[in-house]
Symmetry: D3
């Protein structure tokens, strides 16, 4: 809660015992898309405990409700493509399970079985529909380049339109998050998916803003994670930046942990485009020396920004998330907030 307003976090990832991912190894070894992929030895109790730890983590950071999707670095979109649907649906079922455990705290965002070299994104619609219809998910994650070889069409290309059309119909936002990259150069960097996150999220924002996606799909809303990946070095009126109004369509989360970076992002993107997002718990576990608290404890950080008014902060913490993700608004409403 922030001043009696619910803090809504658009950027969270499912929490499961590490062991819950073990079936993927068996599936890849078997090269067989096990329907159900159930074989996990993890008990419901252990799943519940992991979810409960996640809730505590949110509690400690004053986050009321969080949209949880897949762990992007585990999407592994380069795997043999016939395995992707089974892996995706297994992950989505784990996300759903976590939401069911703590329905007041979590809302689901689905992984999609994205195949980079498919003719278009039609192959993703069945799983999207299943997650919305059966699990009540409120958003969908997409990777700009699931196979990690930069061969996926840019997010402005017709390849993506079937997905955009469905999301517009469903009034469901897309959450753009990088996944794995197979660029051989990256190997020198530990956890190098972070390099791909930055570059691909930045590029996705550029393709979306320079292309005509939002002319075609005016009601489509897209959130680019991690403040959009990278910031612009050009001034806002420079023609290097798309000179058009994207305010109803293109949003960014606040998931930058360095205060210098985050404050620059909010000021550059504008309060109206920023949705609170923390990825808690995730890549923000480093501890700020000055506070002794983990980086992803972002409510006090944003609260401390004196270039933001209180209303700005409420806009970021609550109103934007609720506007961009109608499921969050509905949830907040139904919870009597």
């Amino acid at each position: 809660m922030y001043r009696n307003t619910k803090v809504l976090d658009v950027h969270g990832h499912v929490s499961v015992p590490q062991e819950a991912n073990a079936p993927l190894v068996f599936m890849m070894g078997s090269n067989t898309p096990f329907a159900g992929l159930s074989g996990t030895a993890v008990s419901e109790e252990d799943f519940r405990a992991a979810a409960a730890r996640h809730v505590s983590y949110l509690d400690e950071r004053a986050i009321d409700v969080q949209v949880i999707g897949p762990r992007p670095f585990l999407m592994l979109g380069w795997m043999e493509d016939h395995l992707l649907p089974a892996w995706t649906s297994y992950v989505n079922d784990m996300i759903h399970q976590q939401c069911v455990f703590f329905p007041d705290r979590f809302l689901g965002a689905c992984q999609l079985p994205q195949v980079s070299d498919a003719p278009d994104t039609t192959h993703c619609l069945a799983e999207l529909d299943r997650c919305v219809r059966d699990h009540g998910f409120v958003a969908a994650y997409v990777s700009p380049d699931p196979a990690g070889r930069r061969t996926t069409p840019g997010m402005h290309e017709p390849y993506w339109f079937p997905l955009y059309e469905r999301c517009q119909e469903l009034d469901l936002p897309l959450i753009v998050h990088g996944t794995n990259s197979l660029d051989r150069r990256f190997r020198v960097v530990p956890h190098n998916y972070q390099l791909g996150f930055l570059t691909e999220q930045y590029l996705a924002g550029q393709f979306l803003s320079h292309g005509d996606v939002f002319e075609r799909f005016p009601a489509l809303r897209i959130v680019v994670c991690h403040c959009g990946g990278a910031l612009n070095r050009f001034i806002p009126t420079d023609p290097h930046i798309a000179q058009k109004d994207l305010s109803a369509n293109l949003f960014y989360d606040t998931c930058g942990y360095d205060e210098i970076f985050l404050s620059a992002a909010i000021r550059q993107r504008g309060v109206s485009q920023m949705c609170f997002g923390t990825e808690a718990p995730g890549s923000g576990r480093a501890v700020r020396p000055e506070t002794g608290r983990t980086c992803d404890d972002l409510v006090p950080v944003i609260d401390s920004f004196d270039f933001l008014s209180e209303q700005d902060k409420i806009t970021i913490f609550h109103e934007n998330p609720a506007r961009v993700v109608p499921g969050l608004a509905k949830h907040a409403a139904s919870a009597g907030a």
Copy 2:
């Protein structure tokens, strides 16, 4: 025990809780070769329990000592090659741990970090040396085609010679076992690595017998698993079959579960070339309707073959394994067998 002779099994795979493989998902997701790869949440107790179940499984099948290597279908040699050494050494450490738990029952055979498109097999020697020197392993597994795209040089080609030379020096046998295949056609078959096992093991046997490997490395011993993959349709004197004496070099295990197949294999290969091997527990869990026992309970099956003399059976159960795998002989000796 078979008639007071220890039954020595050359073909076993490490038994760990499924969850022990979960770190691989994290490593692939991180695209980072974690040294140690320890992060597993599996307790030593759980590891020990898995090993103990394995021991019971052997007990129920009258197997005294088993050489255990990696699970071939989990070798995943197609993974990003910079990850292979970490995965390999993690697997080998689990194999070693299981041997340490039950030193009377298990001897280790190592996985190697095989890269199909390396200039040769020199890159495998460090891990081989480590396993022999530090863990006392007695054999090494090799996949004829680790990357699963049939691009690995044939087992008769100079690519393999550094490994052969080291094994000859160490008096250590190689165990040839198929691993994963990425042939797209295979997808229609569940657990389709079995198709690759058969074809690649058969081909390896052909390349080794028609090539000049054993002229170059006369003391090298190689065991081809699953009876060699496939049997020959030609008579022994047909020139389609290599007309030379391979009896000191090329061996096969008995790991065929169908009695028709296994008896044909023993008769075609000859008793002198057959080493007892069961893969217990592994792919032999189907239950024979006529006995109600799993297929991999091979001691009674072989014992029932009336075309074999008692000495033949002892040769297969004990003498050949001990001859081919000196570590088994030493172990048997030290155990006072």
Copy 3:
């Protein structure tokens, strides 16, 4: 004849003077698909003599009628694809000529101008139709991987359905036989097409049995040559083997020369699925030391199998071939057998 029953052989290949293949060299050199490809200098007399030698060869082996197709190792499906139709039709015309020379002894099975990377098998239908309509052929050969680079779709894939549909309409069986392989590793083995025969025939059987081809084409009959390439190491009830009734659709010939292998094949496949086939004359010219007769003299071999009843043998020698290849039945009937 076997006990007054005609011995019907489903697996024979056309016999022509070696020189009859010379025009292919000119066609490949010219890179021009000569219609007719006639230019051969081989006289009809020489062709007839070759056919007559083939008849004698059958006589000496008690074979009454044989279905003759192309020589698989000369199908060379990797050639420039615009040349394939001319080569194929030339071969089929030679097959037909041989049938015409000895209509009581030979029935034709056609080669098809298979192109691995065509969109589907529609391109094969015209030649199939021509051979059936004009030449009265009774079966068709197919290679599971004509271009020899494992890029052909698996035999369970839609690529094959146009051919299956036509064969079902025509009540004409397909004979699955491996052809050439360009796997570089094979080079160490002389006559290495044999390696491809084994692996590709085995794989074809697996794809066909695990896929849904026979649900789609319930009247389609397919014979996999050389006993199916490789035998199964699993027991019949093991789920690694497709657990469904393929008895009306999937057949194997008896063309395994090693008695151990052949008897295992018959026992594993079952008498009901085995069609007599010898490839005489072909790869069975090695002489059995114990009899002094060539390996492909299979009537006495099968007759000697005491696990088979006399009726079993008649089923294999006559009834199954006649059932699977209706043209053989018709022929036998018309011949007053």
Copy 4:
């Protein structure tokens, strides 16, 4: 001048009449590496006029001396590689000519004939040596990915070491600047080389900081342009950021035009690592609405940053450039500054 201190700009590009690039079209059309490439119809007078306009541009922005290199978006490193040396030497000669015209104002930095798939950077040394020896150049530009297909080895890889070694010997800094990208997705963005600049400069910084280049070449100094491409979202002590002292080796220029971006960059990188750089004239021609002056007029912008002390500003404007580029220091000294 800034408070009686010379303003030294590390990031400028050669100014020539557009027509001076026309010979490249002829060279590409001829597919012939014309030595000399002189054929240009541009007169020395026109060249001098272009240089003089450049000087005025600097004057209006209070820049005293500027290091000028090639125009990165015109490096076109994807061209047929045999043409690169001629193009490169032509560009370097134009840079030199501009320095000769105004020796008090310009110092040269060379283009290198970088070939992405060469075995290493040895092929760049001759031109580097020529420019230093004959033209007195003080720095060298490198593109992290000249061919624009992300196939160049990462800047931490041995491919780069010959160049690093020579630069260390020469005490000459490398200036890392993105060039052209051929990523098809970029096409939707006008002047899309800017996307490549950002991503490749950011990645270069990551590879350099996580790799061991500066352990190997402790005296090597590298300046990454445009503030390093992208900023970090992690806090400085987070292990995602290389935790080592790079202060003597890795520098960034100030060439970010958005004040939010630039101030964040200076604060994140630290004053000690920032070298004044403007690219004036270049991509900073957009006019700030609030001042009516072009973006690249950065002296007043930086002067306005109240988080910087006057000494900080002198460090950025003068001391860091002079320290990183010894040629600038020498020049300033000889000019009596």
Copy 5:
């Protein structure tokens, strides 16, 4: 003029100041297809002066009217394909401008934005239509292999039919001229596009004469430049040469400068198929030692051929060009010739 007959030249290329091509460098550097591509600093005056020099050049060579197209070696059809339309339309506009400057002397032939791997030539029609409709062009240039890697379909293949159909409708001839080649072997030869001109023009003539293009498009007329590239070593009745009447469709220009070559070409092709063409000014600037005049001064050369009658010469100089290029006939007519 030749004996009071206008000399009509079908083979000329646009003359512009070299600097007029400079915008291409910027477009390639920007990777952005600038509509208009105007940015050139070349003044209309300079353009006019270049055109005037071209007129004088024609005057000195007795050429009255010339069809001018693009400079083939500057077509650079290998460039990023999204840039081709802008480059093409820029070139065509320069051609048009030259025609407008001297409407009595020049008629336009357009460049087309040919993409080798497009599904067919439909993508070229819009620019063709624009040039005919808006600029009154009378012919179109095509490169048999614009991308220079020999991957374009042969000129007899359906890929080309949309273009052929449109040209037949418009009664507009196609001028076949080689462009750039990227064959790495060519690099040893300066101006190596000439090698590609010869080989590709020769091949185009072969494909067109052996294929069925003119059966499909009987009114289509095609001129192959440089006398068709190479001459035939076979006699006219040899079946290696297409034995059919191509006289209404397939023409050649006279643009061979060596008298031996040119006279052989005219005699081999026949007067009826030869259209006067000089490429003046272009590759014919070498000076004949015996006359002191440039090679491309072809009127006196042809006039000197005593195997030609005066009518033959008029046929070549005037009648054939007028017949093949109706725009030339119309132009001549309107000019009162």
Copy 6:
């Protein structure tokens, strides 16, 4: 004989019964390089008869001695490379046999087992040496692009130097003749190797004349067949033609059948560079309507050229062949000519 001078023909191909090539089909089918490749059923008598027909053919055309090499269109250099040595040595042995049959009339030129993607031509030397040492061959054929995909290094590249060096040592000329091409476009043309002959022979001449081969190997002599493939359209002093003296090194044969073409070739190349060559019998079987004799009856054709003096003709018919091919000179000498 031409006026009492022996007519020496540098361009002939071995004559064998078509059936003699049949073993190649078996070798390709077997994918096995049969040493000896003898299996041919062609009798020595038939071989001798074919050779005798060849002799008569020469007699009828007044040719005294002919250098015979392989049939270029049957070199099939695209075949699996491990088969090339066996095919090559089989062909060379047939050439030798023909020389032995008629030692007064034939001298051998060898085929080489050229592999386009070998590191260099060292792999050809053993067969060259064998043919010279054991068979007394006097020349060697080379294809500029044996694999027919234009991937062979140009004839000026270091790839070729080992072969050039050996030929210089042996004082043995190379005969450059095109072979097969796999350019898909060629398929529309029957016997389309002729297209490759023309283009590759022309290109080879260009590479050799513009490169520095003859500076490196000043005593090397090369004959390019079919008058060099294509003629030059430039005048001799044009810089498009290499301006250097190649008269001691680069020669052409007279094998152009069209009189227009052949006379142009002789005049363009110069008498000093032309060696009599007919390819009789080969591609010159078309009958000249005006004489009723086949095209390859070139002695009367050349004799009829009135631009040649009698001495010129003797130079072409005898002196040049003898100078370029010392084996011919020696042969003529020993024969008392």
